[in-house]
């Protein structure tokens, strides 16, 4: 709307009416243009997701998204698959473990970095952040595999948790330090004058104050692990320990014709937790934006 009025030149005295109608036309055109653009965006982003919404409830799902013959039978097929449900549990296990580790460690580190002057603190932090955005994932998959092999962490869920935590920690510390820096120190000093010990201060004052930050980092870590394919794909051998990301991939790449009933219901079940978590967090805390929140 603003775009239309802005393009109008200064009205001339001799033709105010024509000028005004020109402005109005452009105004309408800009409005229409904007709606068309937004509808196209909506279509582009919604189209691939259609199948996920229809196929799980279709009694004979095809690869095309179409109005389903409604049924819930497909979910029964899921129960029969030996790895489907256990892989979701594996995902929960990996996500919860990593999130707990990342939140705890990052909170302690961020607090120390925020409150005590460590020489070279900012350089260290930026260096690590840069390193983490460069190193995580594919560029170091060879040594990561090697390292896991040497540390006897191949086919170990702990290994996956540790490696993922190492990659997520710098950004997590960065985000949390931001939260802690934004908290006035007078709260802690006040508690200190009343005689509270450092650990009491952390427990009574700091943790409740930065709870939104802890939640943000926790959710962010869960979302990252939940979707991470490469690390468990590299490190976990058997399907018993594989998380949903890996099982999902094997479902459509291995064993000839993919079972679309299984695939669609599994996709939905696997996607729902992160989507729900996201809705919950953004409605509860509002979406706090921090640079580098993903990955």
């Amino acid at each position: 709307m603003s775009t239309a009025t802005s393009t109008a030149p200064a009205p001339r005295r001799d033709a105010p009416a024509a000028e005004a109608s020109g402005i109005a036309v452009r105004h309408v055109l800009a409005r229409i243009g904007r709606y068309v653009f937004l509808c196209a965006v909506l279509g582009f982003f919604a189209l691939p997701l259609l199948w996920l919404a229809t196929a799980p409830f279709d009694d004979t799902p095809t690869i095309t998204a179409s109005l389903p013959q409604f049924t819930l039978d497909n979910f029964r097929a899921l129960l029969d698959n030996p790895y489907a449900l256990s892989s979701l549990l594996n995902s929960v296990y990996l996500a919860a473990g990593t999130a707990a580790l990342v939140v705890t460690f990052a909170a302690l580190a961020a607090y120390a970095l925020s409150r005590v002057r460590v020489p070279g603190r900012d350089a260290l932090l930026y260096g690590l952040l840069l390193l983490s955005s460069i190193v995580t994932g594919t560029a170091t998959m060879v040594p990561l595999f090697e390292l896991a092999f040497r540390l006897n962490l191949i086919d170990s869920r702990l290994g996956v948790i540790l490696i993922l935590s190492g990659g997520l920690l710098p950004a997590a510390i960065f985000i949390l330090k931001d939260f802690m820096d934004g908290t006035p120190t007078s709260y802690e000093e006040s508690a200190r004058v009343f005689g509270a010990s450092p650990l009491q201060i952390v427990r009574h004052i700091v943790v409740p104050l930065v709870r939104p930050g802890l939640a943000t980092v926790g959710v962010w870590a869960v979302a990252n692990v939940w979707g991470n394919f490469l690390v468990p794909f590299l490190l976990l051998r058997g399907p018993e320990k594989a998380p949903a990301a890996v099982i999902m991939y094997t479902l459509y790449t291995e064993g000839g014709q993919a079972d679309l009933r299984l695939l669609s219901t599994f996709s939905l079940l696997y996607s729902l937790p992160v989507a729900l978590m996201f809705v919950f967090v953004s409605s509860r805390y509002g979406f706090r934006f921090h640079g580098g929140i993903k990955r």
């Binding site: 007078s186 009343f194 409740p208």
Partner: protein
């Protein structure tokens, strides 16, 4: 006994800034004491060093007869109210007030009762289950005071207690605070950059500059007889007139006008001094008068019940401007020519920035001086 004694107290930050410079100060038991100075003068550092939030680099602090210099803040038996009150936003008013007792491991019921009792004394009973975010600025300040009172400390430390309140509320809170301190009788030290606040609240004031104390005294003393030109310029809502002067033939020549040397100050002929007199202690007249300074009115500022009139002195040589308080209804117009006469016993002489005038019996009641300062 909870007097506070500081000896050669020094604080040097790692970056080399000397915030406190071998400072000696005694605050007596039950006193309401102000640390006053411009920002960066070290007053907040001094307060935080008494609290233990900063550790002295040298010297000592005693509270009562206990040496607390090396003690952590929790062991000094002091309570501090921060400038932003530092009320924990995730706790209710009750929990906030009870927090010091929680640290002292008082059981839940006893501390709840104590919190309610303290809240009652400060008129906060209705707010016990609210959170700090739901309170007005004045209420928050009372909660912070209640929290400080709840553990019966030997000393209260207040950091800029009134600066977070809006102007109207500030006057109310000032009266409330002074009354509370009277009733509790606990030694209280507060930091302020506002000289009117210090004059109005404190029993005694320490005026600080650059990590040192420039003067300690009652409000009347620092207002009437600033020990040096720094204090003279800092205290008073309208700063003291400080004009260069020279002694000639036993008279004090100020901007060309010879005045009598005030109060028999020992001076030598030909020496250069600074002549100081508050605008409140000058009388303006439109007719020529003896022993008066003559000038032309340049600005008239109406300040309600009086006006502040600035005159350019028409002496030979260096020009000087002098300000004088004129009661309402007698204001001159800009451009008028007028004379200002110092009241007897109210003029001060400074040599090298330090007061040289001997103390004289006060000719104006202290109450009036304080009232004038508040405006």
């Amino acid at each position: 006994m909870s007097a506070i004694t500081m000896r050669a107290l020094t604080k040097v930050y790692p970056n080399g800034v000397r915030a406190l410079d071998a400072l000696d100060l005694e605050i007596t038991d039950g006193e309401f004491f102000a640390l006053l100075g411009p920002s960066g003068c070290g007053k907040t550092t001094l307060l935080r060093t008494i609290a233990g939030l900063e550790l002295a680099s040298g010297g000592s602090v005693h509270i009562g007869d206990r040496a607390v210099t090396q003690l952590p803040p929790g062991k000094r038996d002091v309570a501090m109210v921060f400038q932003d009150y530092a009320l924990f936003p995730h706790m209710t008013v009750r929990e906030n007030i009870a927090y010091p007792l929680r640290i002292k491991k008082v059981d839940r019921r006893a501390r709840g009762e104590k919190a309610a009792e303290t809240a009652d004394e400060l008129g906060l009973s209705a707010l016990l289950d609210r959170r700090p975010g739901q309170l007005s600025g004045g209420q928050q300040q009372r909660v912070a005071l209640a929290r400080a009172m709840a553990c019966h400390p030997q000393v209260f430390l207040l950091d800029e207690p009134l600066s977070n309140l809006d102007a109207r509320l500030r006057l109310e809170a000032r009266t409330f605070l002074k009354r509370l301190q009277r009733e509790l009788g606990v030694t209280t030290v507060f930091v302020t950059h506002d000289q009117a606040e210090a004059l109005a609240l404190a029993d005694r004031i320490a005026v600080m500059e650059g990590g040192r104390i420039r003067q300690v005294g009652t409000p009347t003393e620092v207002f009437r007889r600033p020990a040096n030109t720094f204090v003279a310029g800092f205290i008073g809502s309208t700063p003291m007139n400080l004009v260069d002067a020279e002694v000639r033939d036993g008279r004090l020549v100020v901007a060309g006008a010879p005045l009598p040397v005030p109060d028999d100050t020992p001076v030598t002929d030909g020496e250069k001094l600074v002549y100081g007199v508050r605008p409140e202690y000058l009388d303006y007249t439109a007719e020529a008068a003896p022993d008066a300074l003559h000038g032309q009115v340049v600005v008239v500022e109406n300040l309600g019940s009086f006006s502040l009139v600035s005159l350019d002195l028409t002496g030979d040589g260096d020009a000087a401007t002098i300000q004088v308080v004129v009661p309402e209804g007698r204001e001159p117009q800009p451009g008028d020519s007028g004379w200002v006469m110092p009241r007897p016993g109210r003029s001060l002489l400074y040599r090298d920035g330090e007061l040289v005038s001997p103390a004289a019996a006060p000719a104006v009641p202290a109450a009036r001086a304080a009232a004038a300062a508040e405006q």
